[in-house]
Every structure is written in C-alpha cells, then in structure tokens.
Amino acid sequence: MPPRIAAGLRRGSFWSAVSLILVFMTLPAVVVFVTSLSASPILRFPPQSLSLRWYEQALTYRDFREAFANGLIITAFASTIALVVGTAFAYLIERYRFPGKGLIELVLSSPLIVPHFTTGFGFLLLGARLGLARSFVVVVAAHVTLVLPFVARSVYVSLRNLDPNLERSAANLGAPPVQVLLKVTLPLLAPGMIGGWLVAGVLSFTEFTASLYVTAFRTQNLPVAMYAYIRENTDPTIAAISALLILGTTGLMLLANWLVGLERMLNIGDHR
C-alpha cells in the first residue's frame, strides 16, 4: 500500500478510535440531558415527547431546595476556610524549613489518599465525641479537610512561578515584609487563589461519600438529597437536577481554567 495512503488510514483510524472513546466518556452526560427533557416518568429511549416538567419538579422539590441552600452554606464556608488555610499551607511549604515540616505536609495532603468514607466516618465519630454530632461545623470541617490539597496545589504552583526579584525589589524600595506580602505577593497569587477557591467550591458542593456520613437530614447537601430520592423514586427529576449540576459545575470549571489554566496546573503543556 502506498505510504501516504497508509499514513492517512493510520491517522484516520487513530482519530476514529479517540472519537469513539470520547463518545464513551461524554455519553452519560448526553443521556442525562435527553432524559431530563422527556415528558414521560418512565425511562424510555428515545423519549416520545419533550417537556420541562422535571426541571420544574426539581426546582420546586422542598428537599432539593433545602439541600441546595445547605450546600451553598457548607461550600461557602468550606472553600473560603480552605482558601485561607491552603494559602498558608502552600506558603509554608514553599518558603520555610522547620522540624516536622514533612509530617504536616503528609497529614494535610493525605485526604487525597484516604478513602472519603474513612474521612467521613472519622469526622462523624469525632463530632459525636465533641457533642457536635452532625452539625454544620463537622460537615464544614470534613469538607475543608477534603478540598484543602486542591487549593494548596493551585496556590503552590502560582507561588513557584512568582519571580523572586519582584519581592526583593519591593523590599529594596522600602516595603517591610508584611507590605511585600499584601502589595506584591498576594495580588500576584490572586489568580491561583481564586482558581483554587473555585475548584474547592465545586468539589465541596458535589461531594457525596463523606457527606453521607457527616450530614443529617437537616444538614444534608444536594448529592445526599439526590441519593435519598434515587432510592425511592425512578422518575427523571434526578436527571433534571443532574443536568443543572453538570451545567453549573462545567461553567465554574471553565472559569477556573481561564483564571489559572488547568493545563498549567496539571502540567500538560505543549512541549515541542
């Protein structure tokens, strides 16, 4: 076979394979959207008629509304606290040396490895012991622990990319260390901090497994409320709310990407 045709076939089959795989990856989301628009409460493909009733149902269902509000409260507190502690953590790791540094780094990074149900269970037990069983405090604490590594990483990357001469120059011009931090360092870290904050927010809002353990009916967030609904019902209300969640989280992640550049944070660049 002539080489050019062979090359073309090869390229064609490669991209076909990649496309099929991408279809596999995006299929569920597409199916969710289609299902959410179906008029019938029974799952059937293709939907016979379209309707927005499930969206209406989802948006008016009391448990979902309360869970959404709970989720906002939890996420607002958790992501903001994680931002403050995460920034301190990144700064600590990048700039200081002290005995026990490795230990702190290990403990605060370990939520990435510890199963979410172990973390959730642990906070449930801790909360019980402290008399805070299933209160918002415990939920927020658990969420902060879970999302901290992501914020820290985002800030850390920004910190590493900061030109050290900028801070030296500020000091040389008469800025004491606190002023250097406030006027030069933090403003330049802002994109990394905001990106990390957004990622933390999305992860906290959609967190399910640990939340299942630490929340009660009163404090449950949206994923937990959805789980309860799925166990009892089979109608596409969940599809509608899932579709809304997909849109919301994707939008926020695109925003975070624009600010920080997920490509850079994840270290996938154009290395030519």
């Binding site: 030109d163 001469n165 900028l166 030296r168 120059s169 500020a170 000091a171 040389n172 011009l173 008469g174 800025a175 004491p176 260390p177 002023q179 006027k183 030069v184 403003p187 330049l188």
Partner: protein
C-alpha cells in the same frame, strides 16, 4: 535643576566594605573583600560568571548577610539591617517591574512606602519619568513596554526614592547591542547629572571601561585589582586582569641576564630586549610571562631591527576600523597584531611570512600567569 537632583548631588553615599566574606556551605563566593566607594562615584564590579560580583551587590542591598566583615553605608553599620531599611535603590537584571501595576504605580511604590503625600508623589514620579525620557508613560501597563522602556522605568523607580547608593545588576545585558550602547551613554549622563553613588555589576569589560570612574576586578570571590579604566588597561596588576581586560598576547619564556641587559627568550633563537622598568617583579626568576597588547605590535619590513620576530600569517579578523592579524610565531604560539587600514588581507595574505616588532614600553612581565 530640581530639588531631587540637588538632594542627590549632595548625598554622602559612601559605602565601605571591611573584610567582607560570604560562604554558601563549602563555597566561598566572596572572600575577604575590602572596598571604599567615594560619594558620587560610578564604581563597577567586573568579572566572569561566578566571581562573586552579584553576591557582593546582594550583600550591600541586604538580601544576603555576610559570613564575616562589616558593611557600612553612609557611616552606619548596616550588616544586620533588612533590605527595606538599607537606603539602597536597586535595578535588577530582569527589571522586576510589578506586572499588576502600571508605570506610575511602579515608580510611586517606594514613595508610597515612605508615606509621602499624594501631590508630592505625583510630582516626584512625573519628574523621575521625565529624567529617563518617559514623560507621558504614567498609565501604560508593564507588558506594553519594550525592553529599553522597562529598563528606564526600573531606573526611575530606583532613583525617585533618593537612595544613598544606586545598585545596578547587569541592567543592560538583556538589550541588543545598539540599544545597549545608547543606554550606556544615557545612564552615565544621568548618573553624572544626579551625582548619585552608583555600584554597577557587569561581566562585559568594554562596558566597564566605557562607563566607570573606577573598576573592581573580581575573580573567584577575591579582588584582583581596583583602578581607573585607564590604569587597569595599561597597568594590569596580574595576568588575570591583563587577560580579562581587552585583548592581549601572552608569551611564556626564559629570562637571560647578561651584561648588555636582560633578555626574554620565548623560543629557540628568539630574543626580546626588556626595558628595565618591566623587571622589578621578576627578580631572581629564570622564567616569566610576558603580556603585550596587540596595538603595541607592528608589522614591519626591516629584517634586522631589535625586538622583531618572524612568523607566518594565519588569519585575519576584520573589524571595520582595523584588522586583527593572527600570526604563528615559533615559540610564541599565535600572536595578534592590530593593523589599521583595510587592505591588510591583500598586503599580508594567509600563509605569507611576516615580521612583527614588539614595543615593550607598556608591556607587563609577571612571574606567574594567574593572580599575583
């Protein structure tokens, strides 16, 4: 002149380093350096990479603490003062302009740290920008500026705070050749006008020669020589300085003392008469190193004059105003001779025999080739 220039001209910006050393683990970057900088002087720290010149600058600025010795600025011992209290103004190699601020805010930064009032800040910033020929640039963003413009803003930012001493860390190295030449002239003129004590770091010896009042030559952390450019060029203290500054020919040979005088013999049958003034550092030595500048050699036609050696032309390096002729001379290796005129290549083609006269009046004779 404005108040700024008057204030700067009168500054007692004396910097005194007394036996200053700085080590990083086992590596001694600055080794026992003592140095006194005169007020209003343009002093250059010159040397190859790793010689310690940037370390020294960072010690003066306060980004590093000395391992030994004292540093005084304006008479005060500043060794333990952090950078923001030292009263120096620094221009970094990559300019370090704050990317999140515009030109005005960059230049105003130091003034605001000193809590000057808004009207005063505006006035001083405007004046500093005018001094570096950037009036009207106040609201530009840093990324809209060219390299040369950024360099001027960095300069304005450093001088507007009226520092006791201005520190410049290879500020021109990122500029292309033409711009660099132009900036050298402007920078020197500005420094003259302001009368501000300035410490300038560079590895480019021609830049140092053209701009400095005095030059400190450093090698591996130690001072090799402190002198004016002319003195450095004509009377280098040792072989390192001789080789580092400008072009020079380096010959090794034996010393023969006779009743007619002392001769230098680079090889079989080669003999150069040495003027007495060269001999003092080589008392009692049998061998020595001779350093001669290419402009003190000439291509001649006489065959029997003293201090003429014969060789063969190897190659030419045409420089526009002159040509550097490279000739192979037995016993001496490759000798460079500066010849003016443009027809050198036709007069002395490669491979042709050539006679070179050595004018040793300004030459240097040393017992060792390296640091004295």
């Amino acid at each position: 002149m404005s108040g700024l220039e008057e204030r700067l001209a009168g500054s007692r910006g004396v910097v005194a380093l007394d036996r200053v050393s700085r080590a990083f683990g086992a590596i001694v970057a600055v080794n026992d350096v003592s140095l006194a900088i005169e007020p209003g002087e343009f002093l250059t720290l010159l040397g190859p990479s790793g010689c310690g010149k940037t370390t020294l600058l960072n010690l003066i600025a306060g980004f590093l603490e000395p391992s030994a010795g004292t540093i005084r600025i304006g008479g005060r011992d500043v060794g333990h003062l952090p950078p923001h209290l030292r009263g120096t103004g620094m221009v970094f190699q990559n300019y370090a302009l704050f990317p999140h601020m515009n030109v005005f805010d960059n230049v105003a930064f130091g003034l605001r740290m000193r809590r000057r009032r808004r009207a005063e800040v505006a006035r001083l910033v405007g004046h500093a920008l005018a001094m570096v020929a950037l009036d009207g640039f106040e609201s530009r963003r840093v990324r809209q500026l060219s390299g040369g413009q950024q360099q001027r803003v960095a300069l304005a930012r450093a001088i507007v705070i009226e520092p006791e001493v201005l520190l410049l860390d290879e500020p021109l190295s990122a500029l292309d050749k033409n711009l660099r030449g132009q900036m050298q002239v402007e920078l020197k003129a500005l420094q003259r006008a302001l009368g501000i004590t300035t410490v300038f770091v560079t590895h480019d010896q021609s830049e140092a020669l053209s701009m400095s009042d005095r030059i400190v030559v450093l090698d591996r952390g130690r001072i090799q020589q402190i002198a004016t450019p002319v003195a450095l060029y004509n009377r280098p203290a040792n072989g390192f300085v001789a080789s580092f500054i400008g072009e020079i020919n380096h010959l090794r040979g034996a010393l023969r003392r006779t009743a007619e005088g002392t001769f230098f013999e680079p090889g079989e049958g080669q003999r150069l008469v040495l003027p007495g003034s060269l001999l003092e550092r080589c008392e009692g030595r049998d061998e020595a190193h001779l350093f001669v500048r290419p402009e003190h050699l000439a291509v001649v036609d006489e065959s029997d004059a003293a201090n003429v050696l014969s060789g063969t032309v190897e190659t030419h390096v045409y420089q526009g105003t002159h040509t550097q002729l490279h000739a192979a001379v037995p016993g001496c290796g490759s000798i460079q001779v500066r010849v003016s005129g443009g027809d050198v290549i036709t007069r002395y083609p490669a491979g042709a025999p050539v006679r070179i006269r050595f004018d040793l009046g300004e030459a240097l004779l040393l017992p060792e080739e390296g640091a004295g």
